[in-house]
């Protein structure tokens, strides 16, 4: 069920009405669990079994870790959780990827292992990371295990963030289940505001841009240099609006129901360095990778070289998390290398950093340009199906050619509007863009956004880009 579908709006209204009418926290939670399972089954009921299996295993592991003091046994339980969750993820998401890679390697020997027709269960990457965060936190004794199985099941399957994040950690979510959530009108308004803004970004901006982006990427090499650049910037905007739109809707919906989710995007395209970008883009994933992978690998505690190695490894695996393709791995690697270089440069800058306003502005601007260039080139690999396609795209961008010119007016308008709003925020004037509860303009802007979204919604099925991950 898509957040942007009318069925979802009905479901949301039913949920809100129920939560308003029923005060008993236990009944509320069980109702939310039932709705969450229905929400997932709406796509394919058969894959509920995977969520349930994951839930049982991690609940069991959490309970066992609770009273276990033996280090080896604790480690064994942790491994059990890791093997189960990553095993499921590996089977359903990466089996064919590894087999295909093996087939390429075995091709000189004329061996082919074949592939399987496996359906990727929606949201598996997200809920796997979510449950892993629980087990690892319990293992590290940073979190008390959850005693109530139904609370834990709700944590794993809570529908606003189930299929595409944000990845909400157990220590953020579980304490919120202990007390009945407050459903004030102010919270409801804030939730609706965020939901409408997300809906607008996803449906009116991202889905309308998809037509342009998809058509150009389907025929990489046919378009001229300027068109290719334009479509790359358009894709950068599309993926941002698609994913941050989803996050906004998820956070907004949770807020209406009385839950607080952490922010997932913080104007990533105004980042002045690549590390700044990762503090602003898909924050729940980047912080997850930092806390559970980078730090587990040793972080920056074992010398410079190992720090760079850890950064690279983390980003490579982060790239692979996005999808079963070497282009994603390359995308992760590109960001990993850039992060390592940025770390090296910032270390040297600390010793001889710029002084004076003008120098700081120049440094900031050049940092922003370099960052955007890396991010945009990264998106080429992220969006392309193959390396050949990505290289062709890069050639079209950097080698002047006589391709077709297609400057989509909607894309240009969207980019300009987006640039203006970001510039306003970057200059510290975000108050101009805010929609306070009591301002007269707020209902006008929100209702207009909602109406325009409904009217100009493109025909056809437009799932969220991150559903495939």
């Amino acid at each position: 069920m898509l957040f942007s579908s009318k069925e979802y709006i009905i479901l949301a209204l039913v949920v809100i009405a129920f939560l308003r009418l029923v005060r008993n926290n236990r009944i509320r939670k069980l109702f939310l669990l039932a709705v969450s399972y229905y929400f997932y089954a709406y796509w394919d009921w058969r894959f509920l079994s995977l969520i349930l299996f994951s839930t049982f295993v991690d609940y069991f592991v959490g309970q066992r870790l609770k009273n276990c003091e033996n280090v080896a046994r604790r480690r064994l339980f942790l491994i059990m959780s890791l093997v189960t969750n990553l095993g499921l993820l590996g089977c359903f998401k990466y089996f064919n990827f590894f087999i295909e890679s093996m087939n390429i390697a075995l091709a000189p020997l004329r061996l082919n292992l074949g592939t399987l027709n496996i359906i990727l269960p929606i949201g598996i990457s997200f809920y796997t990371f979510q449950t892993l965060s629980y087990t690892i936190d319990v293992y590290r004794r940073q979190l008390e295990p959850c005693d109530d199985f139904w609370d834990f099941a709700l944590f794993v399957s809570f529908f606003p963030q189930l299929v595409a994040g944000p990845i909400v950690r157990a220590k953020v979510f579980l304490p919120q289940l202990d007390t009945p959530r407050q459903l004030s009108w102010d919270r409801t308004f804030l939730g609706i505001r965020q939901f409408v803004i997300g809906l607008f970004k996803k449906v009116l901006v991202a889905d309308c841009l998809a037509f342009y982006v998809d058509n150009v990427f389907a025929n990489t090499g046919a378009y001229d240099c300027l068109t290719t650049w334009l479509v790359l910037v358009t894709y950068s905007l599309q993926i941002y609006c698609d994913f941050s739109g989803y996050s906004d809707m998820a956070i907004g919906m949770a807020r209406i129901m009385g839950f607080d989710f952490p922010e997932n995007f913080r104007l990533p395209y105004i980042a002045k360095s690549i590390s700044d970008f990762w503090r602003r883009w898909h924050i729940s994933l980047s912080s997850w990778l930092r806390d559970y992978l980078y730090i587990s690998l040793g972080g920056n505690r074992r010398g410079r070289l190992k720090t760079y190695r850890n950064l690279l490894l983390t980003m490579l695996l982060g790239g692979l998390w996005h999808g079963e393709s070497w282009t994603f791995v390359f995308w992760g690697g590109l960001h990993g290398v850039s992060l390592a270089i940025a770390k090296l440069v910032s270390r040297e800058n600390k010793e001889s950093g710029p002084s004076g306003n003008a120098a700081r502005i120049v440094t900031g601007l050049s940092g922003w340009i370099v960052t955007m260039l890396i991010v945009c080139i990264g998106w080429v690999f992220f969006r392309s199906q193959t390396f050949t396609e990505a290289i062709l795209m890069l050639r079209q961008m950097f080698v002047p050619n006589q391709g077709i010119a297609w400057y989509n007016p909607f894309a240009i308008c969207a980019i300009v509007a987006f640039a203006i709003t970001h510039a306003i925020s970057a200059m510290g004037m975000q108050r101009l863009l805010e929609l306070p509860v009591k301002a007269w303009r707020t209902p006008v802007v929100l209702c207009t956004m909602a109406l325009l979204t409904c009217v100009f919604r493109p025909a056809g099925f437009h799932p969220f880009i991150y559903f495939q991950f």
Binding site: K6, E7, Y38, A41, Y42, W43, D44, W45, R46, N215, N219, T220, G221, A222, L392, I404, A405, W406, N408, P409, F410, K438, W440, T442, P443, V444, V445, L446, C447, T448, L451, L452, C454, V455, F456, R457
Partner: protein, 356 residues
């Protein structure tokens, strides 16, 4: 205290109602400029069918950017076809002939009229008779009716865009060509919905409300759990053979003595995997149709080479618009020009026989 609280609640409610009202007005203004016009139909007793109501300015902004003046009997860009004197040719087709995407002066019929009359003394008027979703079966039923209306028509040109137009359509419901239990044409009993509401929607530019209503009430709802089996029989190409083509042509032969010329507009040039393609994927099948036309004395024109030539010479495509897609979709003014020139060329070649 309670009074103050009540006042605040009232203020909030008022603010939201007022905001919603203002936003409706805003959206009304925005969409009046951007959305395509709704089609207003009226019953035409002479033709025995529903046609687009005359005198409306039909605005099309989603693909191309144009206004079309609807004339009497639902004919585009001609006020009253019955008042047209002199020689006439009829151009039959679907939305490619209705051509809402291009201004009236660029539509193929108007270009034929202009090109011909600029260089010939004998005045000729081309009349485009086209509506979205129509097929040769509609033209078959329409020809006798329009003949009464138009008087002498020296030739008919039927625009085809793909091979499925000359084949039976599986699961046919309306005015269609069916193959079961035998080949036959079924005349449409089509009745547009919401006839009364459409004029008001169009007059007050309230297409946005129409779109919202359609989304809410006409699109199906689904609440049952998945997975959902998706099948789309319309995407399947019917079995291609010459038998139905022959049946279709024989039917046309029986109703019309004047020449009928089939003009095929392939979807070329197109782009596949980043490279320009001039090869028409339907070419083999359309050759079969061309062969059947030849056997029965129908003329057949394939515009593939002309479309290719346009692109090779100028880099332009016959289809596509600046606000849609650069090479897909409906014909643009260049495409209409090529069709018009082909029609003029045909008339020129056979003028002795046509104008006898």
């Amino acid at each position: 205290m309670k009074e103050m609280h009540n006042k605040a609640v009232l203020q909030t409610v008022f603010r939201w109602f007022a905001g919603a009202g203002i936003s409706v007005v805003l959206v009304w203004g925005i969409t009046a400029f951007w959305l395509d016009s709704i089609t207003v139909y009226e019953w035409n007793s002479t033709l025995g069918t529903f046609v687009i109501a005359p005198t409306q300015k039909y605005v099309w902004h989603s693909e191309g950017w144009a206004e079309t003046q609807i004339g009497k009997y639902g004919i585009n860009a001609i006020d009253d076809v019955t008042a047209v004197s002199g020689l006439k040719v009829a151009i039959w087709g679907d939305s490619f002939v209705a051509a809402f995407q291009v201004p009236d002066e660029d539509k193929m019929a108007q270009q034929v009229t202009r090109i011909w009359n600029e260089s010939h003394d004998n005045e000729l008027t081309a009349i485009g008779i086209g509506a979205m979703g129509q097929s040769p079966v509609d033209y078959y039923f329409g020809m006798p009716k329009y003949k009464e209306l138009l008087g002498s028509v020296v030739a008919h040109f039927v625009i085809l865009t793909n091979v499925s137009e000359v084949l039976p359509i599986p699961n046919a419901k309306e005015c269609r060509f069916v193959s079961e239990p035998e080949y036959r044409f079924i005349e449409s009993k089509w009745h547009p919905r919401h006839l009364k509401e459409r004029p008001a929607v169009q007059a007050y530019h309230m297409e946005f409300l129409w779109t919202l209503g359609r989304e809410l009430f006409l699109e199906p709802w689904r609440f049952r759990v998945g997975p959902v089996e998706r099948d789309n029989p319309e995407d399947e190409l019917p079995y291609v053979s010459t038998e139905p083509m022959a049946f279709l042509l024989d039917k046309f032969k029986k109703i019309e003595k004047e020449p009928i010329v089939f003009i095929y507009m392939p979807s070329v040039p197109s782009i596949e995997n980043g490279a320009i393609q001039y090869d028409d994927p339907d070419a083999v099948h359309m050759e079969l149709f061309a062969g059947e036309c030849e056997k029965r004395g129908f003329s057949y024109i394939n515009l593939g080479e002309k479309f290719e030539d346009l692109h090779r010479r100028t880099g332009r495509f016959p289809r596509g618009f600046w606000n849609w897609h650069p090479f897909l979709g409906h014909l643009n003014a260049h495409g209409h020009r090529i069709v018009a020139e082909a029609i003029c060329e045909y008339i020129e070649t056979y003028s002795d026989a046509l104008f006898k």
